[in-house]
Assembly symmetry: none
């Protein structure tokens, strides 16, 4: 079964809203083994929508539209679908009564315009909207299905999961699903990962591997499209083991894991505590660590020591050292890590100093130069990194590298 | 001039990433008076991409593709474009040298696979990528233009704004623009803003007003589509003044302003310095303030005091107070603000304590309860807030409220 998504709305074409509905629907369809080869967006324009419907029906079995079911004059989906099907619009009493109840329960006067939402093409099934006013529509047409969903994600989401997905699963009559496993890597550029996993990236269905680069992270995603769940799990495990054998040192997590979550898990498991002294990352490492629920068990303190004065007075970095080596130096990073550890009485201290830019760089210390240090009772280590990008991108990459250094040394 | 956007990537069809590039490009094109009537997504599949190109060229003057320019085997855009145009791929020495420089500057061994990115269709212009490796492509074809941009937003964004948009403006040769003005509000829910600005939200073209709610922010966007720039500016100003008269106290910025930027601007203008003591926001306020370039002039220190021990020992919050009132209390927030100010010798101190959840709430102190305090030489003020949402949403809203409190009291 192939599905195609048509999003309707001039606000999407103007870029005023990001099309999260298509991502949501695509993901749910893929998880249930329904292929999506095309998605598109058209404005609130009947003739262009007609053309898009025609095109989509020529290449897919299920057409899902989103948006354009509201009460206002620029909501054109229902009328256009009726014209497309060559059917009349009829007033549906059950929908109308539901609309009236909706407004009464909210103590809002029933707006006359909403009667439009009770008009549906003859012979069309409608799907109740539990979180809004626009009902969904479902109609079979020449052996294919057209489904119209409301635009607001909070209305579309529950309607799709509760009513549409079960219908599609039954119609597809297949138990084939896509299982996936994401392996998250840090410390190698995409091109290196690509070289190391080249043969796996060329695998053909039913098991395939994709590569996805993000800022400070490269993901390998294994996908298996196999009817038998156990067989799929086995196949995924087989590829996963190959990846692990080749890239073990760079893996920081799987699936929904985050770098900060992985650090937290390791700290909690080994009952270790941590304190952070940040300069160029400006509190981002602390903030990411505390995004993890339960982080108060191991995260004790973060200090953003932006001025040299704070580095000296609170973290105890020697003034002489700053003068001799500069605030952005290996030595100061180590002193910051030690200072944070000492001040907060933790097992681990992290120190980060660098130049986030866009100003402040010099020939010998360019924007993007960051020193990251880690101190424990037994050792101090420091890493020199050179990042590129905007101020925020350099901050993020530095925070990612600092968390990765912590993760490897807990 | 009409443009059409084709996004290329199986990861988009699987819903693994949200298509923010299309929203970005649509917005920029609209602002410059270039119409977009269709956008679509296809997977990493040459024959389907060919069909999409054919279809798009049949209805638009400018085709912009995004994605598929990477170094890996599933990046198929360049090859498909070459086939589509019936041109050979040739190795471009200038691109190759640029790629080598890119890796050398990062002290990374040049990965052989990246040579793919130096192969471009004969007779195609290429556009340097300042933030990544994949060059963009631009080619004229039967009086139309095909432009290929890299997928990562941090690469696509600068390339489009610096190189493509100026080219398109020149080519379009039109002076009709959409001018817009965004007014950013904090402290009122969307429904209240909607009620206050109702008449303006109903305005008809050429001047319209839209309302957009985000986490911790409501935006009103005035848009004018008028050929005469001065007339458009005048019309926008007229509506803007109405909004200001009604909502002045809630406006924290305009257009690309951010809350942290507005706070920074106010601090710099009045030559004031600030220090932050955070508990539940975990460093997020510091991190946001230091996202602003030049923040080292006014931002001196941030302390994430997650444990009571750190609150007492470093910020000087009285142990008795914590025992009597609890760490999440008005009194502790004030002591934290005073402690931060004292420790860092700044003009302003901010203290934030609360429960970010999802655990740790009680009947009297539920998840989402946050106290935000501000201390100066002359006064201390504290605000009680109750936020809803996930841990990260509560953190963000609390950081937004803390920055807003600072902004109003500089």
């Amino acid at each position: 079964m192939q599905a195609e998504i048509i999003s309707i709305g001039t606000e999407l074409l103007l870029g005023h809203i990001v099309n999260t509905n298509t991502a949501f629907l695509s993901q749910k369809l893929a998880e249930n083994g329904i292929d999506v080869y095309h998605t598109s967006v058209v404005g609130d324009n009947p003739s262009r929508l007609m053309q898009s419907l025609k095109l989509a029906l020529g290449r897919a079995d299920v057409i899902i539209t989103t948006g354009g079911l509201g009460p206002t004059v620029d909501d054109i989906t229902t009328e256009t679908i009726a014209n497309f099907l060559g059917r009349k619009l009829i007033l549906n009493r059950a929908i109308l009564n539901g609309l009236k109840r909706y407004f009464i329960s909210r103590k809002v006067r029933y707006p006359k315009d909403n009667i439009r939402q009770a008009l549906i093409p003859e012979g069309t099934k409608w799907i109740p909207n539990r979180t809004g006013t626009a009902p969904g529509l479902l109609t079979e047409y020449n052996g294919k299905v057209i489904i119209c969903l409301p635009g607001p994600p909070r209305e579309l989401g529950p309607m799709f999961e509760n009513d549409i997905m079960p219908y599609l699963k039954k119609r597809a009559g297949t138990s084939q699903k896509i299982l996936s496993r994401t392996i998250k890597l840090m410390g190698l550029p995409e091109s290196r990962v690509n070289g190391i996993a080249k043969d796996l990236l060329l695998l053909k269905p039913p098991v395939t591997v994709g590569i996805y680069a993000k800022l400070g992270e490269v993901d390998l995603r294994i996908m298996a499209k196999i009817a038998d769940k156990n067989a799929a799990d086995r196949e995924i495990k087989r590829v996963e083991n190959k990846i692990k054998a080749r890239l073990k040192d760079y893996i920081f997590g799987y699936d929904d894991d985050t770098m900060e979550g992985s650090v937290g898990k390791a700290l909690a498991a080994r009952k270790k505590t941590i304190a952070i002294a940040e300069s160029c990352t400006g509190g981002l490492v602390s903030s990411r660590l505390t995004d993890v629920s339960g982080s108060s068990k191991y995260f004790m303190m973060g200090i953003t020591a932006y001025s040299n004065d704070i580095k000296e007075r609170i973290l105890g970095v020697s003034r002489k050292l700053i003068r001799q080596r500069g605030a952005v130096s290996k030595e100061v990073a180590i002193e910051m890590a030690r200072g944070a550890r000492f001040l907060a009485c933790t097992d681990i201290g992290i120190g980060i100093t660098g130049i986030a830019g866009p100003d402040g760089g010099t020939r010998s210390k360019p924007v993007g130069l960051v020193y990251i240090a880690l101190a424990t009772a037994k050792k101090s280590i420091v890493k020199e990194c050179r990042f590129k990008g905007s101020r925020e991108e350099i901050k993020f990459q530095a925070s990612q590298a600092a968390l990765d250094l912590a993760r490897k040394n807990i």
